[in-house]
Structures are given as C-alpha cells and as structure tokens.
C-alpha cells in the first residue's frame, strides 16, 4: 500500500493540510510542537481507527473547533485505489468510510492499510511488562489475519464474562456448575486458537528479527524471541504443535486450577498470561541489555515486523518512525536509512534535525522533504 495524498482538517494544530507523498522515504522535519507527529497520527487513525498516542479523540480536535476529519488516498499493491475517510464530531460516534463501505468500525479498518509504528514510547516493548509484548504481537497478528482479530475480541469479552461469573460480588447466588463449564468451554476454544496462532508467529518471526538485528548492529550478539504460553508446555519441542494438543492441555489445566479460581474469583490461566521473551545472548533483554542495545533491539523488531507483514499479508505496510533518529548513533542511522531504501518501503520519518541525517546518508531522488511549522506544510525538495 502506498499513501498518495493525505488531507487533515482541524486535527491538533493542522487547520487544513493537503499533503502529497513520495512512494519511498518522506522526511518530516521542523521545530518542536510544529505538528510533525500529527501527520503520523493521522495516518495511524486511517489504519487503526485511533491514534498511537494515549490522547482521547476529544482532545485531538483543534482548539475552538467541534470536529476533525482526515481523508487519505492510497494505492494498493495491485494498483487499485483505496480511500479512507475518518470524521469525528465532538460527542458523537466516529464516522469511518472507506472503499470497503460506509459506517465502518475500527475493526473493519485494521489490516487494510497495514502500518508499522515506532515512537520513543515503544521502549516498553523490550523493557516493560509482558503485557506490552503481547500488545506488540497482537498488533502484528491482527493486521495479518481478520480471524485472529475476531477471535481476540471475542476472547477478551469471554475473559471478562468468565471473571464476572467467578467474582462473588457480582454473583451472590448459588454457583451453577453447568454455566461455569459452558463459559470455560468457550474460553478454552478461543484461547487455544489464539495460542496456536502465536505459536506459528513465534516459529517464523525470530528469523526476520535476527537478520535485521545483525544488519543494524555491528556486534555479534545473538538475539531471539521466545514464546512462553501460560499452561501449555511443549516438552517435545520438535513436534509440530497442534490445535487439539493445545486444547487438551488447557482443558487439563482448567480442571487442575478450578478450585483455586473459585476461591480467588478470577481466571488464572490462558493467553492473557502469555509471555514473549526477547533474548540477547541467551539472557533476558529486559534485565541485561544496555540502553544502546534496547534501541537497536527495538528498531530491529520493528523492521522485522515490516518484513513479516510484507511477506504474510497481501499488502506492503507503510512505516511510521516518530523521532527515532535522535536516539540512534550516526552509524545506525545510516544503516536504518539504507535498509529502508533497499526495501522500497514507503516510510514517514519525523525528525527535528534533518541536517544530521542528510550528512550521514546518501539519499536517492525519490525522497521527499516536508518542512512543518505551526501546522503548515512546505515541500523543500
């Protein structure tokens, strides 16, 4: 997918910006607070229905206005046009239209315009809690497979319902065994599908991750991503794990832990407790990686995400890098830019200091430079 044109109205400090992009690298530069990241946010909204920042939709609207709107014209890999329109009026439901139809929900958008995002906030992927890594993996798999996304949404709902059933405050009546086992059955069915998909992911993804890491870093460290599902142990790691095997293991676990769950009033097994370990030289990156290693790991994870999505999805993703070059040394900047140029990815890179990048890299002709100040966009090629 290539984004050809983007129109942003009344989003943060962009009152009305009409931007055309290069199909390769787009540098977006300008002083702090000029509205660089807002362009990336607008693309992300067209891709996921919401921004990657923790901001609420109400707060995204430009001061003194009642609504924002974004329209985005893209071209698919096959050359057909794909349009997305998102409009948000204060206090109303977000209106999403695309080439797929009217009145869509965010769920319909996910995966159509695949994107890979990296902001300095994503440090938590390598250094934070297991939840952050689950979100990272879920975001990739959801963009690959609508069925995974659908199962994941249902799974989260079922988990909530099962917890509500277990919690005694909500359910002061007599405990209904039949009802409990019906919810458990549904929970295990969805869980096993999710764990199975995560297994296949963990088999394929490290290959991309390792090759990216060795490309960017000049050191010879060995990195890996290992999946440790809760309640499912595959001792016979050689054996190809099957959906039925996972299902049976979860069943068994459910039986073992049933009494504890009833006592604690909480679901105590399932993919909401899974861990994806990121390893560097066989140690946990969270514990032993240096600051510099964390940054290199993160960039490699994200470019690997791009490669993985590109291969598994029918659409090539676009890359959104928010101010990441301020975190990397000159050598690595040059390598990342080189990789981006070699992959023919359409990428959007925000930076304060463009001179630093230009001095270190050789850019080809198809690169676009956009200078942003106070929500105004100027091309400077």
């Amino acid at each position: 997918m290539i984004i050809k044109r983007l129109n942003i109205k009344k989003l943060r400090n962009h009152s009305n910006s009409e931007i055309t992009f290069s199909p390769l690298i787009n540098f977006i530069y300008g002083p702090n607070g000029a509205g660089k990241t807002t362009i990336l946010e607008a693309i992300h909204i067209c891709s996921f229905g919401k921004t990657f920042q923790p901001t609420q939709d109400n707060q995204l609207i430009m001061k003194g206005n009642e609504s924002y709107s974004i329209s985005c014209r893209c071209q698919t890999d096959l050359g057909t046009p794909y349009d997305v329109n998102v409009e948000f009026i204060h206090g109303k439901k977000k209106q999403i239209r695309s080439s797929l139809g009217e009145n869509l929900s965010s769920k319909n958008l996910i995966g159509e315009l695949p994107t890979v995002v990296l902001t300095p906030d994503y440090k938590i992927i390598t250094s934070g809690s297991p939840n952050e890594r689950r979100i990272f993996v879920d975001k990739i798999l959801s963009q690959c497979s609508k069925i995974y996304l659908d199962d994941l949404i249902k799974f989260k709902k079922t988990l909530k319902q099962r917890n509500a059933l277990l919690s005694k405050e909500n359910f002061p009546r007599k405990f209904d065994e039949n009802l409990f086992s019906s919810w458990t059955e549904q929970f295990i069915q969805l869980s096993s599908k999710i764990i199975y998909k995560r297994y296949t992911f963990a088999e394929e993804f490290p290959r991309y991750f390792q090759s990216m890491y060795s490309d960017i870093s000049s050191e010879k460290e060995k990195v890996n991503l290992r999946y440790l599902p809760d309640s499912v142990t595959a001792d016979k790691y050689e054996m190809k794990i099957s959906l039925d095997f996972i299902y049976d293991m979860l069943r068994q676990r459910a039986k073992e832990i049933e009494n504890v769950e009833k006592k604690r009033g909480l679901t105590l097994f399932g993919p909401q407790k899974d861990e994806f370990e990121i390893l560097i030289n066989d140690g946990l990156a969270r514990d032993i990686a240096s600051q510099g290693q964390h940054k290199t790991l993160l960039v490699s994870l994200k470019i690997a995400e791009y490669m993985y999505l590109k291969e598994l999805n029918n659409e090539t993703p676009v890359i959104l890098f928010d101010d990441i070059f301020s975190e990397l040394d000159d050598n690595r900047i040059a390598k990342v830019v080189k990789i981006l140029q070699n992959t023919d990815a359409q990428s959007f890179i925000t930076t304060v200091n463009i001179e630093k990048i230009l001095s270190k890299t050789e850019l080809n002709l198809n690169t676009k430079r956009l200078f942003i100040i106070n929500g105004e966009v100027n091309e400077t090629n």
Binding site: K146, I147, K160, Q161, R162, N170, F171, S182, Q186
Partner: protein, 198 residues
C-alpha cells in the same frame, strides 16, 4: 429548552425518553400532535393504554400476546414436537416471516451475561424444561452468534442433551444474496468449518 406551556413541556419530556429521540425531535412530534384534531389524539392515547393493558406474555412460549396461550401455541396446525428457542420476541417474527418453520417457539427473554448479572435463573430456562414432554422430539437453538449467545447455546445443550431429545443449532455462514467475495473473513471461516456434504 423551556417552553411556554407546562403541558407542552410534559409531552416533550415523555417523547425524549423514547429510544433514539432527542429533545428536538420530541418537540417536533409534540407540535405535530398539537395540530391534529382531538379524535386522533383520543385514539392515539387509547391505543397506548390498550398496548400496556392487553399485551402480556404467553404462558407457554413467553412471546408477546393478547390471548393466552398465543395464536402460535394454540394453533392446531403447528407441529408440537419441535421447539425453537430464541432470545427476543422480535426473533420469532423474523423466523415466522420465512414461512419455513411450523413448530413452536420459546422466548428466553435474553441471554446469559454475568457482567450484567443475568444468570440462567433470570431467563425462561426453567419454563423451557417444564414444557419438554415425552412427545417433544427436537429443540432448535436459534440464538445470536454473539459471545453470550454462543455460551447460552452451550449451556442449553448441556442441560437438554441428558433428557434424550435431539438438540440442534441453526447453521452459521454466508448470507443468501451475498456473493462470497463480500462476506467477511470471520463469517467465511465459520462457513468453511460448518460445510455440508452435497
């Protein structure tokens, strides 16, 4: 908004309590009523009173009815050995429109939802069990394919199966009149799972 008359204000208040009606629409409806002759108003008001007074739940299937038992339950033409279980009275209408089903219905009046504290005891499940007699051959579960609907289906299967009757559920898959390419992936994968031999 404050109107000049207490009576108008009162009616607007009532209308705006209705689903999907805001104060502006409520005001428009009130103005419309004000312009009608008193005959219309009297009939309108009376019909509302009748609605509440005459409509009750059928004591057998728990659908809305004026006569108890409801016309479907009392009909001689219906096949009394099949019961179709649905969530809401509106679902009965939907299935009746097909003109394909000639058995009886049972309206659960909801689905199991622990988050909203709806347990099997709050639904008409006990009543369903009481209805099942020796001549009942089949129970069709026609609940919505939501998470809660699926669990209710599983729950009902668990308690109905031991009674030795045939329990079936409606098929899930591609809607008629829709070509395959427009069906969403989740629906299609369900349809492939539930494929039938021809």
């Amino acid at each position: 908004m404050i109107y000049t008359s207490e009576s108008i204000e009162r009616v607007v208040e009532y209308f705006s309590n209705l689903p999907s009606i805001g104060r502006k629409t409520a005001y428009r409806l009130t103005m419309f009523l004000l312009n009608q002759n008193s005959d219309f108003i009297e009939k309108f008001a009376q019909s509302l009173i009748n609605l509440k007074q005459n409509i009750k739940y059928c004591s057998q299937c728990y659908n809305f009815t004026e006569l108890d038992p409801c016309p479907i339950c009392r009909s001689e033409k219906r096949n009394k050995s099949i019961i179709c279980v649905v969530e809401e009275p509106a679902d009965v209408n939907a299935i009746e429109k097909t003109n394909e089903y000639h058995g009886l219905y049972h309206v659960l009046q909801g689905v199991i939802n622990p988050l909203e504290n709806i347990s099997p005891d709050d639904l008409k499940i006990r009543e369903l069990l009481q209805r099942i007699k020796s001549d009942t051959e089949e129970v069709i579960l026609a609940l919505n394919p939501s998470t809660e609907g699926e669990v209710t289906t599983q729950y009902l299967t668990k308690i109905l199966k031991p009674l030795g009757i045939k329990v079936t559920r409606i098929a899930r898959g591609v809607p008629m009149g829709l070509s395959l390419e427009f069906a969403d992936e989740a629906t299609l994968s369900r349809a492939i799972q539930g494929r039938v031999e021809v």
